[in-house]
Amino acid sequence: MDFISTHLLTTILFFPVLAALIILFIPGDQIKAIRWTALLSSLVPLGLSVWLWLSFSAGTAGFQFEEQYLWYEAIHSTFHVGVDGLSLTMVLLTTLLTPLAILASFNITDRVKPYMMLFLFLEMGMLGVFMALDLLIFFVFWEIGLVPMYFLINQWGSANRNYASLKFMIYTMGGSLGLLLAIQLLGVLFQTYDLQELTRLWNALPADAVILGLSVSTVKAVAFWAFVIAFAIKVPVWPFHTWLPDAHTEAPTAGSMLLAGVLLKLGAYGFLRLVLPLYPAQSAQFAGALAFLAVMAIIFGAFGSFGQTDFKRLVAYSSINHMGFVLLGIAAAAKAVGTLDATIALDGAVLQMFNHGLSAAGMFFLVGVIYERTHTRDLNKLGGLFPLVPVYGTILVFTSMASLGLPTLNGFVSEFMVVRGSFAILPVYTALAMIGLLMTGAYILKGIKQVLHGPLNEHWAHGEHKLTDINLREIIVMAPLMVLILVIGLWPMWILDVINKAMTMLF
């Protein structure tokens, strides 16, 4: 116990690997054993992160639970992890969604062993990004996360999976190329990859210094954009978003849950953890451009979503729309660092990350539930299903409302805060974003209508195609999400307090 409490982060981080290794030695035909091992072992990091949350002292500045080990001395990189309020929230989100995703995957029967192992590796990759305090370690986990996701889509995805998975991989790797190069530049310049150290040195660089024969401001601007593009692709921000609908559409349900729930947050987290601290001046300078991209993401995401006839693509585009708000908040904060408005916008952005994680994971799961029964995602082939599946219908409406931003549910809180914060700083963009907000309502309602209401598609009412309602396992998956959606909607302070303190101390 003592070991765990002093090595809490590394335990959370590497427990999934341990579990994966255990699964490796379970014979492949013991499907039940593998499923339960995966599920139970993914509950351990969740439990530990709850412990982490409880023992976290929100009022203390800086990082907590820090651990630092020698890793790659030759290039001055150490294995340095730690959490602050921001990363803590994300860690909690990750450890929460992973068991749910695994539970959601209990219907997978094809090659369960590698599937579960990949999920656990994916969890490690994501957690690592959120915990890393060393730029190189950050990058390591950033890239590691890609691999399991690639194979999950490529192996367990639907018809067009090859194209989608390769696109996902190449987009993200191509995006991280700039990041990689910029990280190397930093490492070469300062002979360290420690995040705090780097932030200090990089910002202390005299403005008239010359790097690689170029002025500091040029280099910083280029490096800034290298970072931004890498994260923007991940978020994804318009116009780098095209991989996302494909990846989501083809991914297995649980893969989509984590993809939307956590992987997209990695990009936003990158903005908050790296871009803003490392490039305060550039961020402020280019805040307008970022805000423009964010608004475009909001509007195009919404319109794109509205135009879909595929249920899953609809939800996928909605992610672009929602993540746009996160970026809008970040852009606003970048423009006016330190003001109250900025802090509110940031709080909203971070909370929006958490909320979107909950609702998007839920939405994708629900799409998966209906897809599994009907084997179609085509909205035109569904319709009027509410009488057939009342429980499912209720849950879908509930989750959709969270996504839509209905007050008393969590989405409202965060989006309101983002808009409230950024309106004072970027009024025009925020006003434009309202168009997107409007459309959000439109596409969500369209989705609900086409699935649940309207004329009943008789095909699903009788015979072998008769639709069955959501089962207990699926309800168990949804229950924690719904509870949190409601709790945050009604009483957001428990989490906002942590976020707010973190944001105030960070910026």
């Binding site: 590691i144 691999v147 194979f151 090859n162 390769l166 991989m169 191509g174 190329l177 190069l181 070469v188």
Partner: protein, 504 residues
């Protein structure tokens, strides 16, 4: 007296080759077991060397020196430093796994293993040589068995052409380097009065000073001789535009030989280019740095592009080797600490990786009798181990963090940043291209539908094969997760190089 471990390592394969040659050619299993025993012994010794290298002392260790031809200053002089120790381990690994993979060779296994071990002995000899003559001696020993191994046991369609091409290229390179080495000998004698092939003595600053007069122009000695020496060796490292032999050779060679070829032999070239080219002619290295940097960049990017358009699984890996070995040379050419540490690690990492790749491809080919991507598919179902191994190799190849490739490539790029950032940006393109072709190859060969003609014809791999695959994978992951296992060692080697380069 200290146990002469390095000599034992060098002579284990040679003696084993001799013993195998004297065995009855019909008793194939005995031959195989003998080969395996020798390989295990060599692996154990090389691991021992690796772990007994005292990092607190640095420098050259486990030195043995005996007179060979004292009149000319030729001695049998062996020792290892931080650069060569990992490569000795690598050779041990490849030898061990190579024997396991070759268990199924049924046509004259006696000759096969004997030649293979001759090759291995030559490779060990080069890695531990501290005498220039000895280095050449073993270098050539390592080259010629390749010809026979490829020509006799290779892929029927191209083996004769490829084997000859390979041998001639390598021989050409090495003899040009040899001329340079002889010139260096006389120059050292002229400057210091000591006529010796001892590289430790030749390393002395100023030993290579002097001028060469050619066509009436007076050129500093080191500048004149650097290119022939460096490029002569680098041919074996697959440097552009002399890389052409390499993919052909890979494709034609039998599995174990491909493993040796890409895994170890190409390192031999890079290693010798470093030892003789850069370490003995540092001024020349400074002078020609940009040329080498440029060539290596072409290697990296061009190799990746060509790999992308290949249809044959082995050609893909062959060209990817060209690309990756380009990174090694690129690392050397930076003449920086980071770049060279990375290059040293890349040599090891790439060696293990390609050994793994070629063994996996060999297993597929042995069963499907084709390597064309268009004809393969779904191999992960009958051969899950092979698929996983290939994927892990692919991840290493892509430079995915957590695997040894990343640990090696990252510092190389840092070094390039220090030297010329434009090159870093250009070379980095290869990372994405690599990801693309590896993923496509993995998907087309191992996933999708298993073609009907293979249904039921793909028999599973043996336990020995599995041992080989797991060993190689484990090494790559271990190094990727814990770079500290090897990086400090390489760094010690690099420090010596940098000292010779003038403390850069």
């Amino acid at each position: 007296m200290q146990f002469p471990i390095l000599s034992v390592i060098v002579f284990t394969p040679l003696v084993a080759a001799l013993i195998i040659f004297l065995m009855n050619g019909e008793r194939k299993n005995e031959i195989r077991v003998t080969a395996l025993a020798a390989a295990v012994f060599a692996l154990a010794l090389s691991a021992w060397v690796y772990f007994s290298y005292d990092q607190s002392l640095a420098g050259y260790q486990l030195i043995e020196k005996y007179d060979w031809l004292p009149v000319l200053g030729i001695s049998y002089h062996v020792g290892v430093d931080g650069m060569s120790t990992p490569l000795v381990l690598l050779t041990g690994l490849v030898m061990f796994t190579g024997v396991l993979i070759s268990w199924g060779i049924d046509d004259r296994p006696r000759e096969f293993f004997a030649f293979l071990f001759l090759l291995a002995g030559g490779v060990f000899g080069v890695f531990v040589a501290l005498d220039l003559f000895m280095l050449f001696f073993f270098y050539e020993i390592a080259v010629f068995p390749m010809y026979l191994l490829i020509a006799i046991w290779g892929w029927k369609q191209t083996r004769e052409y490829a084997a000859m091409k390979l041998t001639l290229y390598l021989f050409l390179g090495s003899v040009f380097a040899l001329v340079g080495a002889l010139a260096m000998y006389w120059q050292v004698g002229l400057n210091t009065g000591i006529y010796t092939f001892d590289m430790l003595a030749m390393e002395q600053v100023g030993a290579m000073a002097g001028m060469v007069t050619i066509f009436g122009y007076s050129i500093p000695f080191q500048v004149f001789w650097f290119l022939p020496v460096f490029l002569g060796f680098a041919i074996l490292g697959g440097i552009f535009p002399f890389h052409n032999w390499s993919p052909d050779g890979h494709v034609a060679a039998p599995t174990a030989v491909s493993m040796f070829h890409a895994g170890v032999l190409m390192k031999l070239g890079a290693f010798a280019a470093l030892r003789v080219g850069i370490m003995l002619l540092p001024e020349g290295a400074h002078y020609w740095q940009w040329v080498i940097l440029g060539l290596a960049t072409v290697n990296v990017v061009y190799g990746a592009f060509i790999a992308m358009i290949q249809k044959d699984l082995k050609y893909i890996i062959g060209f990817s080797s060209v690309s990756h070995m380009g990174l090694v040379v690129l690392g050397f050419a930076t003449l920086t600490r980071e770049g060279m540490v990375g290059a040293g690690l890349q040599m090891f990492s790439h060696g293990v990786m390609t050994a793994l790749f070629f063994s996996a491809v060999g297993m597929v080919y042995d069963r499907a009798h084709t390597r064309q991507l268009a004809e393969l598919g779904g191999m992960s179902k009958p051969l899950p181990w092979v698929a996983v191994a290939f994927i892990i190799g692919g991840l290493v190849s892509m430079g995915m963090p957590g695997f040894s490739g990343f640990v090696a490539e990252f510092p190389i790029f840092m070094g390039v940043w220090k030297t010329q950032w434009v090159v870093a940006i250009i070379a980095s393109i290869s990372i994405v291209i690599t990801a693309a072709y590896i993923l496509i190859a993995v998907r087309r060969a191992f996933f999708g539908e298993l073609p009907a003609q293979f249904e039921g014809h793909i028999h599973p791999i043996s336990v020995l094969d599995k041992v080989a695959l797991v060993t190689l994978c484990a090494v790559m992951i271990a190094l990727g997760v814990f770079p500290g296992l090897m990086a400090p060692l390489v760094e010690l080697g690099v420090q010596n190089v940098l000292r010779l380069l003038g403390g850069a």
